[in-house]
């Protein structure tokens, strides 16, 4: 059982939860994730650790409410508890010997890009950050990034904030201008990571992508998280979640990630009543999830 200590909306769809878990906070490193189950009836879903504080004994996650589980998470408030929280899982991002890095985040992926940027920057690395959003309303973590990188570039698809265009437009501009990096880290929707990898490839820039396939156990026991990298099968939970972006089979990843999408919609429909009941109860300040 893990207690939520802070809940904050970062933009209309992305929410931050700071959760009490001294053991995980003590061990977490950038790039790792947790698996949580909101309540007895819930699924187990992986979420990247967006921040951790070993003194407060907390880990922070950020999520976009899309599926049933994240919608349920959204009904919880600070003081409520999450039934199961396991972590830290996965391997920390390998950033040894990096001197100049470019960290690229897209949409909710910025939440995951943030700890990477912060960690590198605090280790004395030159860090350029490019974060991209659809429009101005969706921009989040700008202040946090600013404090934790050398240069921050923001792009929006419609130009309503920062520079108009995609993260890859900006990335290419920097690379063409002769910026030298020894590592690119890309985190965001799968198509975005693929485009980043395609952009960096001609420059021979080593690019890590953080993959978020379907998972169950997170310990190498189900193979649900398998991805094809350089023609061989890897389990993202124990071999990743970071992989060489130039070697990942993105098509396979995308179809596998979409397996339950129809069902999610159907399930969301079936469970809508329950969600409604839960949220009614929460509104009345009544039964909290416990």
């Amino acid at each position: 059982m893990a207690r939520i200590v802070t809940k904050r909306r970062l933009n209309p769809t992305v929410t931050l939860l700071e959760i009490e878990s001294p053991m995980i906070a003590h061990k977490a490193k950038p790039g790792q994730f947790v698996i949580l189950r909101v309540d007895e009836l819930g699924e187990r879903i992986p979420l990247t650790i967006a921040d951790f504080d070993s003194i407060r004994g907390t880990v922070t996650i950020m999520y976009q409410s899309v599926g049933l589980t994240t919608k349920k998470l959204d009904l919880l408030e600070s003081g409520d508890t999450i039934l199961d929280l396991v972590g830290p899982l996965g391997n920390p991002t390998e950033v040894d010997h990096v001197k100049r890095a470019v960290v690229i985040g897209g949409g909710v992926g910025c939440a995951i890009a943030f700890p990477q940027a912060k960690f590198l920057y605090r280790a004395g690395v030159h860090v350029d950050v490019i974060i991209g959003f659809r429009n101005k309303d969706l921009v989040f973590l700008e202040g946090s990034f600013r404090k934790n990188c050398t240069n921050l570039y923001i792009t929006t698809d419609d130009g309503s904030y920062g520079e108009k265009g995609f993260v890859t437009t900006k990335l290419k501009e920097l690379l063409d201008a002769g910026e030298q990096y020894d590592l690119a880290i890309a985190i965001g929707p799968v198509p975005m990571m693929r485009f980043v990898a395609e952009t960096t490839k001609p420059y021979g820039l080593h690019t890590l992508v953080s993959l978020n396939p379907v998972m169950v156990d997170g310990t190498g026991m189900c193979g649900g998280c398998r991805v094809k990298v350089d023609g061989t099968v890897k389990f993202a939970c124990v071999d990743g979640p970071d992989f060489d972006g130039h070697l990942v089979d993105y098509d396979e990843l995308m179809t596998r990630n979409a397996v339950y999408r129809d069902q999610e919609t159907a399930a969301a429909e079936v469970h809508r009543c329950r969600l409604q009941a839960l949220s009614d109860a929460a509104m009345m300040g009544g039964a909290r999830n416990g």
């Binding site: 039934l83 396991v86 156990d217 190498g220 189900c222 193979g223």
Partner: protein, 465 residues
């Protein structure tokens, strides 16, 4: 003298046509009368070959004599002299290759139904004694960590707690039981039995820490620093193998472990739960072991119209328990022997649409006595299926060895131990069960848990002298 040709007393079972769509237990167990009748078939052989055939040497003639004398609690007590979980093993042991294979009655007719009698004694005990104060030695305040809560870990924790040790049981899942909860389905092993074992552990004072992945959130070194004087690793063998054939990465292709975990641990069979699972119409399961049978029977119960089982050798070579194969056939699983998959076909949008196989033939036996399988030319055929479940075997869970380079493992990732003591290459660290042997059986895992408890206790006693 008993009639040496009388067959064994059959056990009542749910009708296959009804049970193939529900998760209720298939075998209903003996009544007292049936148990006594079956117990009377036992010849009470003095040399007890059955006991020698049991990996934990249950005193079989002794407990069966007690059943015959209607001393059912006495029968339970006789079993638990050497083995603590008869309700589980009575249901899942491959008796036909162990105790029952050695039964003298089996020469002229059928062996005594030892497994069914074992189950009867255990169920009788549980029904009569819902809470049972377990005997326990006084606490000795020496801490021992057990990592992994499958049959090996449950047994080791239980025995050490009875000896007075302060045991903490670590489990990475949110529920205790290992394969007994995430793999073996409810219709074969009701989970109330595992909950009872868990309650027994708690009443013995065992601390249970679920959601705790050892090697990630805490390392073996840190456990030692925290004051654990010994560690038993019973982390199992769940890492699934795949065939490396084309199309295995398509949506709709599962490992049996993922499929079974969703259905069993995550209760996908219960509509109240939110666990997603593909709604399959036609399923192919690849493999011939218990895991394959469980996956096939679960797929049938999840509503598939047809379930095919593909096995590369013939029925005689199938490693699954005979009873499971029999039940699977009764439930309408279609068996394709001497068939081997070569590709999963794509429906054009990344989802499995069929399984292409070739026919095999068995050749000469190799040095291990297993007949090699050869592909027949031009024998390709494709089953139209929307779901493929790979049940090809598993290897030891990778996390522990990845997290601790000082732990010696063999080429297959099995932890190397001294066979007498189960001690690993690391001081104070022991290991047993599937983590050491690779995928094996519940009873062997329990035997290892028992041996480890004895050997840990011996080592800690000598240290404190």
């Amino acid at each position: 003298m008993a009639d040496m040709t009388s067959p064994r007393t059959s056990m009542p079972e749910r009708d296959p046509r009804l049970r193939r769509r529900t998760f209720e237990e298939v075998s209903l167990g003996y009544t007292e009368e049936m148990a006594v009748a079956e117990a009377n078939r036992c010849l009470q052989c003095k040399h007890a070959p059955c006991t020698a055939g049991c990996p934990v040497n249950v005193r079989i003639p002794e407990f069966i004599a007690k059943i015959a004398a209607r001393d059912f609690e006495g029968a339970y007590q006789a079993i638990t002299q050497t083995h603590g979980a008869p309700a589980i093993t009575g249901r899942v042991c491959p008796q036909e290759t162990q105790c029952e294979a050695k039964c003298v009655r089996g020469i002229k007719s059928e062996p005594v139904a030892i497994g069914r009698l074992e189950r009867f004694a255990a169920d009788w005990h549980m029904a009569q004694k819902p809470a049972f104060a377990l005997p326990k030695l006084p606490a000795n305040y020496t801490h021992v960590a057990v990592v992994g809560s499958g049959p090996a870990g449950l047994t080791c924790a239980h025995d050490l707690a009875q000896l007075g040790y302060a045991v903490t049981l670590f489990e990475s899942f949110h529920t205790v039981g290992g394969v007994l909860v995430y793999g073996i389905p409810e219709f074969r092993l009701p989970k109330t039995i595992i909950r009872r074992a868990e309650a027994d552990l708690r009443s013995l004072g065992v601390q249970i820490k679920t959601n705790t992945v050892v090697g990630r959130v805490v390392t073996l070194d840190e456990l030692m620093e925290e004051g654990y004087r010994a560690i038993f690793l019973s982390t199992g063998a769940g890492l699934p193998k795949f065939m490396n054939i084309s199309g295995e990465g398509l949506a709709g292709v599962y490992s049996a472990n993922e499929y079974l975990t969703r259905v069993n641990l995550m209760h996908a069979w219960n509509p109240d739960y939110e666990t997603p699972l593909i709604k399959s119409r036609s399923v192919a399961v690849v493999g011939g072991g218990n895991v394959a049978m469980d996956a096939a029977r679960c797929a049938m119960r999840m509503g598939a119209d047809e379930v095919h089982l593909i096995y590369r050798r013939s029925e005689a070579e199938m490693p699954a328990r005979a009873e499971e194969v029999h039940h699977a056939k009764e439930e309408g699983i279609q068996f394709h022997f001497l068939s081997n998959p070569v590709a999963v076909t794509n429906n054009g949008s990344g989802h499995a649409s069929g399984l292409t196989c070739v026919k095999m033939e068995l050749g000469e036996a190799d040095s291990s006595g297993r007949r090699t399988a050869r592909t027949l030319e031009d024998s390709e055929f494709t089953l139209k299926v929307d779901t493929v479940i790979m049940a090809l075997g598993t290897s030891p869970n990778p996390l522990i060895r990845m997290a601790d380079p000082n732990l010696n493992v063999d080429r297959k990732g099995c932890i190397i131990v001294d066979e007498q003591t189960l001690h690993t290459s690391r001081e104070g660290v022991y290991a047993g069960g599937d983590a050491v042997t690779g995928a094996a059986t519940v009873i062997l895992a329990m035997g290892a848990g028992k041996l480890a408890a004895q050997s840990i206790a011996r080592a800690l006693e000598t240290q404190s002298d």
